[in-house]
Structures are given as structure tokens and as C-alpha cells.
Symmetry: C2
Subunit: 371 residues, 2 copies
DNA sequence: TTTGATTGTTCGTACGCTTTACTAACAAAT
DNA sequence: ATTTGTTAGTAAAGCGTACGAACAATCAAA
């Protein structure tokens, strides 16, 4: 599952992985293919699988037999005879499905600034258990560095104890810059720097661990469970502003693993507020929730609040228009506090985006909260 | 080589291709791996190849034997004994190399507005022959639609006749929107609409044909021959403005095969000139070469010209900053007339880009012409 | 001369998928 | 009740791919 990162990745500049291909790769590939197909539409027969995948019934039978031994697939019994018009001749099919209750997954979200939250999920993404740990210690100081790592480990242990079935793996979404090996290169809020969290948790638990950027994880989750398309951008708006990009169904990492870090891109040609990073008019200065809420609190009336939200939404649209145009995105998903971002903000962002990109782009612009 | 586009692509919404994996895929994959390795550094032995690829000497011998039969690899004779310090024990190695002179490639560029140009290239990308066809007919009208297709076919025939060795395939770079199957969905300049040029040329010549967006082809060429990195954006500036994106070494197509079509993205928040598309301040209105040259001609002095170029470069920087930030690009390559874009324009674009993105991005910004 | 190292080949083996051929089970027609 | 035709799933044989072990050829160094 979790492949150790090749030496080439450590240098920062990705070397071509010189990936040789063995026949056994076929096997695991096809195993995954069967599982994916079955995952998307369970309750189908071996023959259906064969038709869906293009493999032979024989091969499917072989693969399924192994997967049943591994307890990843279960037989549901025979297909009901479909009386009436839909009656079909021939031997009735034995239906298969992924063992949806037999395994569980642990997910941990480090993106909140005050609370580490995690959960035990089943394979459908339903949350079975939920646990939280406050980052602030007894002294009121927010834990960082090693103290924060300890809290993460403690939360992980708690979740493992709470699980009611074998755990397939652990997924961690972290803010900041995370490389392919699950090392958090930089996460200012938590005080992490070159922290090999994935390796640490793997050693700690003995389970497969995947540590990734939170926005990237979120967009993948939207794609898997939220029905997002294969070319999607998910913009996270909170204390900072980040984004996860899904292009052709695969997440984008970028040359320095910093893809989606759009918080400090200057937007517009008319100045703006100074930013902590030293520039003026960064996207974060327009959109960060604390600033937005402060401005809203100072607004005299409802119309004023709407104007503030519309202005912020416009800024987002201005910043995203070139990205949407250049990438031909089909969808943009916003993630953040719904009460603030749900109304005029989103409307203004949509309008601005449409006005500033080609007429062809009439794709939907949806706003949803992350699961 | 040219895979027929699955039915799923025709709908516009990409369905997962449900790619099964056969053992023979391993074979072709490893064949390609050997050829790539040998292409990048020719004059190495079978044992070297084994070490470079991770495959066994046995397997390499087998693969190489087949490739020699196919005339894709040639033996160069034994390695010179390397007298002196570099002397090595053991059986002397027989060196191999790609058959660099044995095959040729035909490349055709449809992006110029007045002339179709094409060439015969060897495997190193060197141009051996060059042919051109003017689009304007006897009546002075620029050929479009079927007339333009006829000219492309004629040019192709001419190039095939000019080739001095077996032709591996034909590559065509077209402006506009091109899908994965080589159908030009839309190319206003040439009057193409839903034109299956790839299939037509393949039927006409019996050779493998690849039709792709010109900017995408250019960025791939830049990556292969020009030393561009794996995360690169190539911006073509001519009568229109387009871009090709290379992310992680693979080109990006976008959800509607329109990735890189940034010409009609509105840039800046301070108005601009009206555009043919109906909006105001599109990138093309700032950068298109005819407009730029007209403005330059009207400039009173050298300082005025510099100011105009700097302003245009700034606009490009403003438009690209969010893209570079969101994608974490390592490199931006500009393509267009060097005398116009080479100096202040590029400098201004670089400065603007650096000022508007995070401090981390100190990657190089190079300007080169396409081969 | 002997020893050790390197190259490239031959032989046998393990694995994965396909084709072919078969049995089991069912619906519809007779 | 029997026959016919279809579908589901399994078993055996075959082909392709890569690997490991063993070996011959070759050369440098002791």
C-alpha cells in the first residue's frame, strides 16, 4: 500500500522513476481494478465484472477467489430471478460485493487551528466514531512541534482502540507542504518542518499510513464521496487559503509539492491590504475568515455585510479565473464556514468567474462542505 | 500507437477508461523503457542497461535482441579497452545505440496564420528537410475548411516523398481545441470544426499519426529537446494567445480538451480594450502581436516602446501569477517573435511574476523559440 | 599461471492471462 | 416432459514475460 519513497524524491527535484514493469504488476493492477469496479457498483456477478473490466470470466474468477480468501470480497447469494419482463435465461448469477463492513479506515484532519479531529470510517466514507483533541494545553498555549506530534499519536491510538473491525490504513490531512513520502516539509501553524509524520505513524502503529496535504485529501474525498468531477479545484478558506487540484482524476503535487498554495498570490491591480508575507494584496488578505468576520462585525447593516461578502467573492473569482481558464476546470468547490461563504460570497465568485473566462465555461460551480 | 478514442470520450465527460492490464503491457512498457534509456545516453552495454533499468541482464538481452531484429537498435562494436586508469576487467562490452539515422519523423505545424510549415526530422530532433505551403490561394483568400485540409494533405505527401528513411510517424500541431483522438474540435483560424484530421491522415498515409494542440506539442518538444523541466507552462503569443501545460511530465488536456486556452481570460481590475469575444480586457487584447506591433509603431521613441512592452509583460505576469502559484510551476517558457518578446517584455513578466507569487518561487524563467 | 571480475547466453522455473472445452442451471418452445 | 438455446462459472492447456542458476568468453591483476 504505502510505497517507500525512492531515493530520487528526497532531492526535491523529481528524477524519472525509471519504473520497470513486471508481470505481477498486472496482477495487482487488475486486483485493484476489480475492487474499484465493485466498489462503485456493488451487487454484480463475476460475469458482469468480466464485461465491465474487459478481462475474461476465467481471470475474474481467479481474482475474485483470491480476494474472497483475503476477505475483501463477499458473496451475497444468488440474484433474484427477476420475474416478469426482466426474466433472463441461464444460470442465475451469484452476486458479489466489497466487504464494506469488514474493514475500517482512520482519518485525521490537522487543518483546524485549535482542534485535531479524527474519525473511524467504513469503506463508504460513513463516520462511525469521532474523536477530538484540543491543541491548547493547560497553559493555554497551542501545542506545536513535538508536543503537537504527541497529540496526533495519542489521537491515533484512541481511534485505533475505538475501531470495531480490522483497520485498512490511516489517512492524515495536514496543512502546508507535504511531499510524496508523507514528510511535512512545512506547516507553520503546527510548527512542523521536515517532519516525517508518515514514517513515524507507520512505525508507531504498524499500519499503512498516508499523509497528504489537507486540500489535496479533501478534493480526493469530494471526488470519491461527494460526486466531484475529475477536473476539480477545491479551495479551502479558513485562517489561511489553500487549494487542492484534481486533474484528470489524479491529484496535482507541483514541482516543489506546493501546488495549491495560492494564499499568497497577489490578486488584482488596485493595491490592497499588506500581508504578513511582505507583499500587498495577497489573496489571504481578502479572504481569510478572521479578517472577513472582523469586517462583517464592523459593517453597519445587512447591505454592508452583503457588499463585503460580494467584494471578497469577486476577489476569489479574479484570482481563480486564469487558473480555471488555463486548466479548463469543470468545477470549483469551496470549503469553509458555510454561514459566511454560502450566500453572496459564492454568488459573486461564480459571476466573476463567468465574466472573466471564456463563454464555453458554463460548468457548474458548487459549494459544499467536506465530509 | 494511435489508440482509437473510447466511446466515453465522445460524451465530453470523461469516464474512467477501465484499463485492464495484460502481461504483454509489461513487455511494451519495458521495450519503451530500454529505448528511452538508450535514447538519452547511447553507447552503453546490455549490462549497463540492466543496471539502469533494474531489469535482469537476461531480460535485457531478450528485449535488445528483438529490438535489433526490428532495426530499432544497432550494435556499435566492442567497447574500446580503456587503457590506463579506467581499465576494467572482464569480457569487453558490446555497445548499443538507438538506430538514430534509420528512421525519420514528419512534423507539421498549423499554428501560423499564413503558412503551413512542416519538416522531416531525425530521432534527435534535427530538421533534415523543410517544406512550406502558403494558405492564401490565387484569389488572395486564405484557405479554410476543406481547402485547408487539402493543403495539409499535399504538404504531408511532399514531406513523405522528401524523407530519406522509413518514417516512424507523423506529428501535427494544430491551434484550437483538439481531443485525445486527434479530432480538431474547433480551430477558428483554419475554419475547422469537429474535423477528424488524425484519422484522415492515417487513412491517407497508412502511417501512425498524432494530432495535438500546438502549444501542447510545443511544450512536449521543449521538454524532450529543449531541456524544459517536468512542470512547465509554454505560452504561445502570436495572433492569439495560447498555452501548453506539462505537469509532472505529462501534458494536461482539461475537462473539455481546452486546457491552456487563456487568450480570453480577463486580466486585471482596471478595464482594458474590448475584445472580439465580447468581454473587456482579455489577455489577447493586451498581448496579441498585431496589436503590440501597432502600438509599437505608434510609439514616439525608444522609451515609449519599452514602456509598451513592459506594460504588456506585466499583464502576462498578472495573468500567470495565480496559475504559477496554484500549480507550483517550475518554469514558464515564452514562445513567439523573439525581437518583440525578448527584452523588456520578458523582464517585466518575470518581475511581475516574482512580485505576485510566494517568495519560494525563484525558479528560472526562460525564453526560447520552438524548434 | 592463477585468481577474480565482468559480459552475455542457455536452460529451467514461476507467474499471469487467454483460449478451449466443459458442467451446472435456467427460460422458452415444443 | 423434452428439447433448445443461453448464461454462469470452472478446469486444463498454452503462450508470453521475467527471473535465477549456471556457464563460456574474456580480460586485469596478483
Amino acid at each position: 500500500m504505502s510505497t517507500p519513497s525512492p531515493a530520487g524524491y528526497a532531492t526535491g527535484r523529481i528524477l524519472r522513476p525509471s519504473a520497470k514493469s513486471l508481470p505481477e504488476h498486472s496482477r495487482s493492477h487488475n486486483r485493484a481494478l476489480v475492487l474499484q469496479t465493485l466498489y462503485r457498483s456493488g451487487g454484480i456477478s463475476r460475469a458482469d465484472l468480466a464485461r465491465a473490466t474487459g478481462l475474461t470470466r476465467v481471470t475474474i474468477s481467479d481474482l475474485v477467489a483470491q480476494l474472497i480468501v483475503d476477505d475483501l470480497i463477499v458473496e451475497l447469494g444468488q440474484r433474484s430471478p427477476l420475474k416478469g419482463e426482466d426474466a433472463r435465461p441461464g444460470k442465475p448469477a451469484t452476486l458479489l460485493d466489497i466487504n464494506r463492513r469488514g474493514f475500517q479506515i482512520i482519518g485525521i484532519d490537522l487543518s483546524d487551528h485549535a482542534v485535531l479531529c479524527g474519525g473511524v470510517l467504513d469503506l463508504d466514507g460513513a463516520v462511525l466514531e469521532r474523536r477530538e483533541v484540543r491543541l491548547a494545553g493547560a497553559d493555554g498555549q497551542s501545542a506545536t512541534g513535538q508536543a503537537a506530534v504527541d497529540k496526533v499519536v495519542a489521537l491515533t491510538r484512541e481511534l485505533i482502540a475505538a475501531a470495531g473491525a480490522p483497520i485498512l490504513g490511516i489517512g492524515v490531512g495536514s496543512p502546508g507542504v507535504v511531499d510524496l513520502g508523507g514528510t511535512i516539509l512545512s506547516a507553520p501553524n503546527l510548527g512542523f518542518r521536515d517532519l516525517p509524520l508518515q514514517a513515524m505513524l507507520a512505525a508507531e502503529t504498524g499500519l499503512p499510513v498516508l499523509v497528504a496535504n489537507d486540500a489535496n485529501a479533501a478534493v480526493l474525498a469530494e471526488h470519491s464521496f461527494g460526486g466531484a468531477l475529475s477536473d476539480t479545484m477545491l479551495v479551502r478558506i479558513g485562517h489561511g487559503v489553500g487549494a487542492g487540484l484534481l486533474l484528470g482524476g489524479t491529484p496535482l503535487f507541483g514541482s516543489r509539492f506546493a501546488a495549491g498554495e495560492i494564499g499568497h498570490v497577489v490578486v488584482g491591480t488596485d493595491g490592497g491590504a499588506p500581508c504578513a508575507c511582505g507583499k500587498v494584496g495577497c489573496l489571504e488578505t481578502w479572504l481569510a475568515i478572521p479578517r472577513l468576520e472582523a469586517a462583517l462585525a464592523a459593517a453597519p447593516d445587512e447591505a454592508g455585510r452583503t457588499a463585503i461578502l460580494r467584494a471578497a467573492g469577486e476577489r476569489l473569482g479574479i484570482a481563480l479565473a486564469p487558473v480555471v481558464g488555463a486548466l479548463d476546470l469543470a468545477e470549483v468547490v469551496l470549503s469553509g464556514p458555510a454561514d459566511t461563504l454560502g450566500g453572496p460570497f459564492t454568488d459573486a465568485a461564480i459571476e466573476t468567474l463567468r465574466n472573466r473566462t471564456m463563454a464555453e465555461f458554463h460548468g457548474d460551480l458548487t459549494v459544499r462542505m467536506t465530509a
